[in-house]
């Protein structure tokens, strides 16, 4: 009896220990705690390890390359989800004060959402400014706030227009260079009786919608991490209204689709000839090639994004990501070195370009003739970097995002959806967006500029 009593007491105690063990295991210094769960194989087990969260395609090869090339530091890599999935985990780690990695992949648009929570390290203390010259200006701008540098740029998303030459030819359409021509092409296409519409205008386009607004001069936010309590919100400025009214006109005339982006339906429609044009970032070609059910007859070509004023072209960016060092990193100096060096060398970046279809922000690769002259089989051998994306990247001057970008995007989606449903016009939608964001910012303790 006694033995049994003790045994069960032991089980209870063991359970309790296991439970507390669980809650303790998630914490600790990112390094040791997560070391057991590296996706990659660590080459030199003696060296200190830096934990990295990232979702780049073919990133395993880049990590192996880094670990083989560096004897004194090793990367322990985890894919913690793509975009919002990763941010949710990171956000929870910040709240609980433990569990974050040392180095994390973040899109440049969410950087200020994390700097305001004091989650990221200012890399200027760790020599970031020494490598500034190695990166494209707009990308560096996106990763900085005032004098502080919160991340090292990795890839960018300069925008261009991918189009179906075969559909254009069948309807007798010339490649549009301005938005006016784009609308005319949309009408011609519709009148030709084609099954395709010219493009999709997704209500949940988020950064895509914002990039189109920016092309007409919209600067939705003014924000500087050095003065984090102050924010300027101008989401309903003239540029944004002009663009949204333009698209609303196309929607009302049935010239474009309004399918949600990034759904299975959308992915299929992108490649099966439902849309004649895919307004895309430089990572778009890689995305297209990964989709199934493609129309085998499709003839894809790339052209610059249509302009509002052909004489004064404006280049915009959609997406693009960086490596940041978290405040929870145990050895910030080492983590910063890793953040700067993963893609900050030609071997690593070339792997990213060739295997992961990244558009590099690292200048030695970006400016190389190999990259400019790269021929893409998917585009019938077209040199899309030289003809489209390099110019777009060179002309991009950077953008400012809000420290509550996810909320701003969710609200934008709601407003554009209401507009597409015919509940309000574009101007009203943006005015309502402005009001809701101002209210939110005030509630969150910001002073409006």
């Amino acid at each position: 009896m006694k033995a049994k009593f003790l045994a069960s007491a032991g089980i209870v105690a063991a359970t309790a220990v296991a439970l507390t063990g669980c809650s303790g295991g998630g914490g600790g210094e990112g390094g040791e705690a997560a070391a057991a769960s590296c996706t990659n194989t660590v080459v030199n087990t003696e060296a200190p390890q830096v934990t990295v969260w990232a979702w780049y395609p073919a990133f395993d090869q880049v990590v192996d390359q880094f670990n083989n090339a560096n004897d004194d530091v090793q990367i322990c890599w985890t894919n913690a989800g793509q975009g919002n999935d990763e941010y949710t985990r990171f956000s929870t780690s910040i709240e609980s004060g433990s569990g974050a990695p040392d180095v994390i992949q973040l899109e440049s648009e969410v950087l200020s959402s994390f700097t305001i929570r004091n989650a990221l390290v200012d890399l200027t203390e760790y020599g970031a400014n020494d490598v500034k010259g190695d990166y494209a200006e707009g990308a560096w701008e996106d990763a900085s706030s005032g004098d502080a540098v919160y991340a090292i740029p990795v890839d960018g998303g300069p925008m261009g227009m991918l189009y179906r030459q075969d559909i254009f030819d069948a309807a007798g359409i010339e490649v549009p260079t301005t938005w006016e021509e784009f609308e005319a092409a949309a009408r011609t296409l519709k009148e030709s009786g084609s099954d395709a519409v010219i493009a999709d205008f997704p209500t949940n386009g988020r950064a895509f919608n914002q990039a189109l607004f920016a092309q007409a001069g919209s600067t939705p936010f003014e924000y500087d991490s050095a003065n984090p309590q102050e924010i300027g919100i101008n989401v309903n400025d003239d540029g944004a209204k002009q663009v949204l009214e333009y698209w609303n006109g196309l929607v009302e005339d049935g010239l474009v689709a309004t399918d949600d982006a990034f759904t299975a339906d959308y992915n299929t429609k992108l490649v099966d000839g439902s849309y004649a044009v895919y307004l895309a970032a430089a990572w778009g070609p890689g995305y297209l090639q990964g989709l199934s059910d493609a129309d085998p007859e499709a003839v894809w070509r790339a052209a610059p994004l249509p302009q509002w004023d052909a004489a004064d072209p404006v280049q915009v960016n959609w997406g693009g990501s960086t490596f940041a060092v978290t405040e929870q990193a145990s050895d910030k100096d080492l983590a910063a070195r890793v953040a700067m060096n993963i893609f900050g060398n030609e071997e690593g970046m070339n792997l990213g370009v060739d295997e992961g279809a990244l558009f590099p922000s690292y200048a030695p690769v970006l400016d190389s003739t190999e990259f400019a002259d790269k021929e893409y089989e998917f585009f019938g051998g077209q040199q899309i970097n030289k003809e489209v994306f390099l110019d777009a990247a060179a002309g991009y001057e950077g953008a400012t995002f809000s420290p509550f970008q996810n909320y701003a995007y969710d609200q934008l989606t709601e407003q554009i959806y209401a507009m597409v449903q015919g509940e309000k016009d574009g101007g009203q939608a943006l005015d309502d967006l402005q009001a809701s964001l101002e209210q939110y910012a005030t509630e969150q303790g910001f002073t409006l500029k």
Binding site: L19, S91, Q229, D260, A264, T413
Partner: protein, 316 residues
């Protein structure tokens, strides 16, 4: 004799005193064992439910804004929650779901149970299983599957409607999303409720039916006058399950949001609102308050319902 009798009586007394004592000690001993058996559960229960609840409640009394930091605000978050048009709008949505979805599930479940109760063939066993199967599918998988069925591109609807020369309804549009969600939930849960009701029907003494038949009752009269009243406590339980589930509506709309972000905004139901506040907008404190506010609403409605149906459920 006297001695023996005293001895006997004393022995008796002894025995009786012992037997008086024994159950008590045994009982206490058993009680101790009882606690031991409860302990593993209690440890898990306290660690994963009571403590997080207490922690969340504590969080809900503070506010943490992006720009201004953390402050103790007491009940302010609750006042804000119950005057927050988004939260109230979400409550109105789930109330609408409750009004439509619960009767729909009840009707399907009750009809199926009554029919199956009357049949005793292999077909009834098979049907019982088939009606129950959707419940065995994980909710997320079920919702994903319906997402595909509703898809204008991959779903069967467009081909079916094309056969008769009509265009398929857009299941995921703003106007139809409500019905689409009602359909998913009814499909998934009606089978489960059917099993509960069916089990209750099986528990009725068949002698009562015989008596009813002798009195000239028809099958329909037996169903409506005998069966349904006799299983009313199970029906009340089923409604309570459905009510609590509906007020906490989350998984199905959250999954379908992946393919209909416009029609299902982030704050469609109170639970989704709490989720996005916490994990998308990092407002853990207000999210805790919203969760507790929802908990209060669920409690009030469940209590109210149980109070109103205390006669049927046998609680009185």
């Amino acid at each position: 004799m006297a001695t023996t009798s005293t001895q006997a009586s004393s022995r008796h007394a002894d025995v009786s005193s012992k037997s008086d004592h024994r159950p008590d000690r045994n009982f206490r001993r058993r009680q101790r064992w009882g606690w031991l058996f409860v302990a593993p559960f209690a440890v898990v229960f306290i660690t994963f439910l009571i403590l997080p609840l207490a922690y969340a409640f504590r969080m809900s009394l503070f506010t943490n804004t992006l720009a201004a930091g953390t402050d103790f605000v007491g009940a302010d978050n609750y006042i804000k929650a119950f005057t927050d048009p988004i939260f109230l709008g979400g409550l109105a949505t789930v109330a609408k779901f409750a009004l439509i979805m619960i009767p729909a599930q009840m009707i399907v479940a009750l009809l199926a149970a009554l029919v199956l109760d009357n049949l005793a063939t292999w077909a009834s066993k098979f049907s019982r299983l088939m009606i129950f199967v959707p419940y065995a599918i994980p909710v997320v998988i079920g919702a994903l599957m319906w997402g595909f069925l509703y898809s204008p591109r991959f779903g069967p609807a467009s081909s079916i409607f094309n056969l008769v020369g009509l265009s398929a309804p857009e299941f995921l549009s703003q106007d139809n999303i409500f019905g689409s969600l009602v359909n998913i939930v009814t499909w998934q849960w009606a089978g489960y409720y059917m099993i509960i009701i069916y089990a209750a029907l099986r528990g009725i003494d068949p002698g009562i039916y015989e008596a009813a038949v002798l009195d000239g009752a028809s099958d329909r009269q037996i169903a409506t006058r005998i069966k349904i009243p006799m299983i009313s406590s199970s029906l009340v339980m089923v409604v309570i399950f459905a009510l609590i589930g509906t007020l906490q509506f989350f998984t199905e709309p959250q999954v379908l949001r992946g393919v209909a972000q416009g029609a299902i905004p982030v704050s469609y139901t109170p639970n989704m609102y709490a989720y996005s506040l916490a994990f998308s907008y990092s407002q853990f404190n207000y999210a805790s308050a919203i969760s507790f506010a929802l908990g209060i609403v669920v409690f009030v409605f469940s209590f109210l319902f149980l109070f109103l149906t205390r006669k049927q459920s046998g609680l009185k």
